[in-house]
Subunit: 325 residues, 2 copies
């Protein structure tokens, strides 16, 4: 960790330490390919399947790093967070494995499957309204009452160091990548990717993929400073949250470009992945494929890592239900 006075920035040594710490608690997820999608895009795509990860999402990497690095005098009070879903259940999973309490503030509109899973791992849920402002207000109350250690879903150096283990694995699994594409919400996965790649593969391009309907990262990237939305609406429910200073630090320095896709493009890419690759992925992690399909000139002829961030989907409420298949 590097303390700049303003913030504590994780270094690549923290990624290596995180990897050792979390290894017993996570999967080394497989990388899948699809000859159909390669033909369709003209690129060679390597899908890093974090939908097969413990708790169903990459977020278990950062959450486990925070939980298993927690000092002994904090174990009784445990951890707390607010999250649109996957960080909540990842933190609950990790806390459950360390047998410490985990308090979670979740929007009441979060998918039922995610709420059930959080409770299944032993997490204690307090609901808020689906806006950044409500979430932060409710969380402040829970935090004050419990005294638990706040593990922010992405603006936390322990979390970013944990997420950085994903692209470290990907680089071991696939040789000669030209680019990596990952979805961007708050920027935790992208920041971890920046941290790792800027250290071990600085020539690899990093693209952040974002819904047009929640394009605060794209607008921040163009403007050169953080622009936040309150309560954006998108099918990619994991990507509604804004950048914060720590993720902005990485995004502003290392991201090649932020590309956006519409709701229809995201749902089409999601359906295409289910149909052709036979894997269950969230709308949020269909955004990378959507932007690759939309910007063929950027990716054609390249070897591209695509981070499939999670697979926690409400099967009774799929975005194409009622639409022609």
């Amino acid at each position: 960790m590097k303390d700049t006075g303003d913030m504590i920035i994780p270094t690549f040594d923290d990624v290596i330490a995180a990897h050792e710490r979390i290894r017993p608690h996570i999967h080394k997820t497989p990388v899948l390919t699809s000859s159909y999608l390669n033909e369709l895009t003209g690129a060679e795509l390597f899908f890093k399947c974090e939908n097969f990860q413990k708790a169903g999402a990459f977020k278990v990497r950062g959450a486990s790093n925070a939980v298993f690095g927690l000092p002994d005098d904090m174990l009784e009070k445990g951890v707390a967070t607010h999250s649109s879903g996957n960080h909540a259940l990842s933190l609950s999973y990790a806390a459950g494995r360390r047998r410490i309490p985990c308090h979670v503030v979740m929007p009441r509109t979060a998918p039922q499957a995610k709420k059930d899973a959080v409770r299944g791992y032993g997490g204690i849920i307090t609901e808020c309204e689906p806006s950044t402002s409500s979430r932060e207000a409710v969380f402040a109350k829970v935090h004050a009452e419990t005294g638990a250690d706040f593990v922010h879903p992405y603006n936390d150096p322990r979390v970013i160091a944990g997420q950085g283990t994903c692209s470290r694995e990907l680089m071991e699994q696939v040789e000669g990548l030209d680019a990596v594409v990952a979805p961007i919400g708050g920027g935790g996965m992208i920041s971890g990717t920046c941290l790792t790649l800027s250290n071990i593969a600085p020539g690899v391009e990093i693209y952040a993929a974002e819904p047009v309907n929640a394009d605060d990262a794209a607008r921040s990237f163009r403007a050169g400073h953080i622009i936040a939305d309150d309560a954006p609406d998108t099918v990619a429910d994991g990507l509604k949250v804004p950048l914060k200073e720590l993720t902005w630090h990485f995004v502003s320095r290392h991201v090649t470009d932020v590309l956006t896709a519409t709701e229809d493009e995201i749902v089409d890419a999601m359906q295409l992945t289910w149909k052709r690759m036979k894997i269950v992925i969230e709308a949020s992690c269909s955004v990378p494929l959507a932007v690759i399909l939309k910007n063929p000139e950027v990716f054609r002829g390249k070897r591209v890592g695509v981070i499939i961030t999670g697979g926690n989907v409400d099967l009774a409420k799929l975005p194409w239900m009622g639409m022609p298949g």
Copy 2:
């Protein structure tokens, strides 16, 4: 092949030859595990993911073996078949790769996704009613008109030898299996499994899993002779077809037991697999997990191979749509 006068029975040498012949045209599919499902069942389950197979199903193994073994003087007339879906698109896929015609008789009620995929590979579809009798009548007409080589979906020694390559791979990928469970419709996969395991691992138990609503194999197994249904109705649309003499040969000699599951049990197992393993699988290949959950005393403590036969699902028409998730 062994000619008994009554029928031509494939031998394990045919499985080895099939494996060499089809290797360039198929995937060696991965084996996935789930600690959640292991805990739930008390067994160690190894899922052989033929849903990731070319054309989305194991049937491409048998179909490719038939197509790539076709003599030169038959190439112009091509191949023909009738199928509830996956054999149709597998044969179309293989024929497309060898650039020969492929005529397919399909029930008009087959999932739209399967019809689209057959046509996408260049197959020529003639529709029939969803009953065994209609299918056979329409097929006889198509066969007579085209003179194409009939590749039966399962009652064909070339097809059974091809399907036998799946459990050959599984035995290379997982050590010390005690049992293998696969769905049974016409019996092609189970027969290939019997052929391979009886030669290379005769101690491994073989369980066939079947819907209660199409339990002709279970009743045949108890009776000691083939009992066929006409037009059974089950969500497991790949398992509606009856055993024939060649598959009965293997089933009657090598299967340990035929276990059945109800429609609800099948849909529950399908949903559980999607939710927990994040893979898209058909109702047909959820029957093995359904019977494992239903008969814990049979499988507890064992290392069990589970053949996930395919992932070709109509995403707009999932069996739990309209049901609570």
